[in-house]
Amino acid sequence: MRPILVESCFPCHSGQAKTLQGGLRLDSRAGLLKGGFRGPAFTAAKPEGSRLLEAIGYVNKDLTMPPKGKLSEEKIAALTAWVTEGAAWPKTGAKPSAASASTFSIKQRAAHWSFQPIVRPVAPQVQPRGWAANAVDRFILAGLQKAGLKPAPQADRTTLIRRVTFDLIGLPPTPAEIDDFLADRQPGAYRRLVDRLLASPRYGERWARHWLDLVRYAETDGHEFDFEKQGAFEYRDYVIRALNADLPFDQFVREHVAGDLLKPRIDPTSGRNESLTATGFWYMGEGKHSPVDLKVDEGERVDNQIDVFGKAFLGLTLGCARCHDHKFDPISTRDYYALSGVLKSSRFQQANIVSPPGMAEAVRSLQSVRTRMLAVSTWQLAGIAAIAGIETFEEFDGTNFGDWMQTGSAFGAGPVADVLRLSGRGSEARIDALGASGAADSGALGEKLEGALRSRTFRVSKPFILYRMAIDGDTEVNLVLDGFQRIRDPLYGRLKIRANSNGKLAWFSQDVSKFIGHRGYIEFVDYGPGKIAVDTVAFSDKSVPQEPAAPRTASGAAESGVVEALLLERQAIENSILAPVYAMAMTDGTGEDDVVHIRGSYKTPGAAVGRRFLEVCSGANQQAPARGSGRQEIADRMLAPTNTLVRRVIVNRLWHHHFGRGLAATPDDLGFMGLPPSHPKLLDWLASEFLAQNWSIKQMHRMMVLSSTYQMSSTGDVVSERTDPTNRLVHRMPVRRLEAEAIRDTLLAVSGRLDLKMYGPSVLPYLTSFMEGRGRPGSSGPLDGTGRRSIYMGVRRNFLNPMFLAFDFPVPFNSMGRRNVSNVPAQALTMMNNPFVVEQAGVWAARLLSISETDQERITRMYRTALGRSPTPDEVSQAQDFVQSQETGDTVQPQLRAWQDLAHVFFNLKEFIFVR
């Protein structure tokens, strides 16, 4: 037997295996008995049922050994005989080692710096006192002096206004702004400049883009068809508003994690439910339109959610703990699956995010119409024949929805006794009763309200689900299995029912035979115009009820004048209700714990683990949520004063954006494999100050940009350059290249084409002839994106802007807190030849020529607009020479073309896209 085992099994399942697979060793009888992650390989009591035989027999398609091909018939026969006869083993076999025993210790690993409590450090006393503008400077100066270095001198004021303007609002200062700043000789001029920039709506547009990098923001699903994510841009607008309003960061985090469970925070201007919209970030990931294995897809989707959550908020690579305990950080697979349980207990909703003030009142008025309808109509229910052979899931007979979960307002306060429909005009006006015996009815209060009703999570156990319902208009029934929402043909069309039953109750059956064993829930959705009334939901072995329901009779009667009055009253109320506005959001589902997936596969389930936050942050004995997902508890624990990660991560990110490099240079990973902070005490001081300033992001900006450190020149002295060549100690400011978006925005600002319109649906991408392909939007957007800022340009996964990509726009698949800053020829080609850049040079030239001034004046204006400084006399004359001698080959508008070429040269100057 041994040769077969040695050859076919030992490479992966013995002491000689490079990596032991499945925790299984077959080089001893004890190993055989002990087995691996899936249990014993050999069962002495019933040898013929041993897992080893199952595996080599290739009968279970999830367990086929050896994986690369079935053994020969002879070998299988030999092994089978050996196993069924008791798997005799010579005495000398090795003992199973503790190869799979874990050396993982949360306690030990929690000693890592980022998990330590934040004790507010005292800023060091430094000399000279004059240099330090605030505590930040005292830490930095102390660090420099310890290394025998001096800070670089202060940057000149033209450099400073350009630097801080780009940094805070992502646009160049205008010549007028520069003049104002240079003219303001009063103390506090720089502070006033910073305050003006922070108060500008442009600030939110600039910094929202930094945040969007962290949540892999995109407006389509990618993959084969690049389907649109409905209302994705609402999330982008939410972030802009939150930053402009300086929403305390703890609230911002809380809204992201559990905004649907909080008291809604309504934006007074737009009427948007901000807290609900924030949860859309969970769904910014890629979506597959027809994944073959729903459970694998669910695992990948949740993995991406956990990974983004971990990196963006906690600076931890939680995704590493999906298949094994984290190799370096104090994160176990149990932690991972605790969070997985939280997310699997949460559900997607296409949520109506407008919630205007008068809404509750309108619903009350509709309710009153309903009450009067009931009062004026009389009807009779006939007996209902029992239906044999079906298992009733829900009949909606009670006074409330029980364990069904409701969002929106369409389904009212609870089930109705019968489904009543108002219709007709004048003498034709009537009330019909459809003949239900208790129903959930989204039309009970009229046709306009939107809402959804979702069942508890259940296991599909029979091949058909039957619905007795009246379904009309923009409504649907979804069976959501394993959290899979994006229901698309070819494989999953049958999970969605959209139909029109002409205002009558009818039986519908849904074939779910393929999905027996999967877990999921039923969702009745009314998107507004339309109505759906559900009388019965049942599970069945057959596609139609064995005994059709006996016809039920119903009749309603009332004076038509009264009915018409009711109808008109209802219409008037409905007209006052705003149409719904949809965005992606989360909602709570049935709370269910997940189990550890051994090696990350659902096919090898391990022990169940309660829904909770990370053990290293909040201990092993966290109270389980009483119901629902437990996201609110997660948010509370993340933001508890004892949890240090959220604050350290965000202040480090802010530092990263202001100074070009985080105090810890790996902003998405403050774990063991990340780089340790260059100034740990400064980082902790900032994290502590952040709390003292009530989590105000704008206060942190002020603290950083008002420091003398930030105001240093980007030129260091020779000694400092030699001692601190990587500028780790911040002896000067770095020179930085503008990001893709800022480059485009600057082109528009300089040419005069910039349109400062805020918010709303994104501008379709301009599609080059290189962007043909499946999922291509029906039409191309304009070349200049109608002059809107780059944050309003659509982010379609399969059609990302080539200019942005050339300048390191991150592909939206995961958190990206630190963009690449590359310098490749494609950038030169883009700036030289991209039609948008060429066009903007023309727009600028035309605008310049429309102002009556001398060449010298015009050239000076160009320098001041594009580079934020005045030219030297030499520069003026060189530019003048160029314009005069440039042979553009254009005989119609030679002057315009020559100035366009000069404008284009400005766009290509290093000085244009580098900020000192």
């Binding site: 091909g69 080059t768 043909e772 392909g773 995961n814 020829p825 494609a826 553009t888």
Partner: protein, 476 residues
Amino acid sequence: MFDTAQRAELLSLLGRRELFSRLGSGAGALALACLLHDEAGAQSGYVPYNLLPKKPRLPVKAKRVIYLFQNGGPSQVDLFDPKPELTRQDGQKPGEGFVNDVDAKKTGKWLGSPFKFARNGKCGMELSELLPELGKHADEIALVRSMVSEHENHEQACCHMHTGMPEAGRPTFGSWVTYGLGTVNQNLPAFVALLQPGGLPVDGARNWSSGWMPPVYQGMPVRASETTPILNLTPRIPAKAASSRLEFLQGMNRRHLASHSENLELEARIANFELAARMQVAATDALDVSKEPKTIHDLYGLNTAATSVYARQCIMARRLVERGVRFVQVMMVGQPWDTHTDNSNQLRTLCKSTDQPVAALLTDLKQRGLLDDTLVIWTGEFGRTPFAEGKDGRDHHKRGFSLWAAGGGINGGVSHGATDEFGYAAVHDVVTVADFHATMLNQLGLDFRRLTFHFESRDQRLTDVHEANIVRQILS
């Protein structure tokens, strides 16, 4: 990566001052660009990356790759893997254990191939009558009939084939190769994705993305069209105006540099404009297939309607690798091999449009002495079911499919591995996607275990966590 020793060597060879004086003189400028970028990178705390040629650790059998990707999943039993038993049982219900992984309910009846297979070359490799031209190269290609994938969906399977893992976001094969080897011609992109004028393949730019690697390693999309093969390659103004404009620009940039000489990143930028300008010339030349003689046009079928698109791609691919491009990935629009219906007629059309150009590419590389150290790979992301989908189609299939490779130290004439009697599952010498990647990297002198890129706190590989074996049987 640009290692310290190399950098020191370059510096001592040239010296900084010397480098500056060479600005604009071809190789010196590029060396400078890379060198300076490197230093600038170090300054800002970023790890530096570049495309300078690197010496691999293992013996080099192949110096460049032409990767003919057949999106959609070509049908193995109709092209490469003759199955008489399948033909015999045509129309019968498959037995226990033969299911359609996409949807068990869609498991149709056995669908024998209507195409005849013949022995080719000295080796006697059996190939379908749909591939008469490829058949003439049987002694040069190694055919693997026992490939398996883990996914029966296009997106995951393509992603797996391109990046080693099914999830999006990782660097593609070409990115790994250019990261590991750099490139010898700095006037051309190192990694080219050669597309058809009709449009992108399914999943678009993801097929040549550098994922979390820096964008220097991403494929540059080039369209096999007569008019604009590269976006933004050429100035939109007359050449003379463009050149005087560039001259003026560089003058301004240099003066700026002179007053801010401490900023290395800025210096590297100057070189990039010159490189871009040189690329305009070099790439325009490389992609101009009209410079080929008529005999070459005819060999590939450039002037025949059916073959012209793929012929142009194959000629461009040859011209690019000839000029030192490291990795050329030839892609088709959409996913043409996805023959869910009317399988046999679709295959006829597809083979008619590709068989001659592919064979011509092998002939042409060989006659130029390039085949020996050029790896040519032909594969899809998976195969197709040996049973029918619907009346006359075949569904996606991961359990057994075929691919071939040639040149670059591949042992021609080998048929490796086997599927069962129906062509359903690979049963002998099974080759996984990871095995395939490891083997191809090996030919390029790259050890799949040691070619790593540090990301997300670990050293990542093309094969990621997969175990892999080099398929020695197909190597010479």
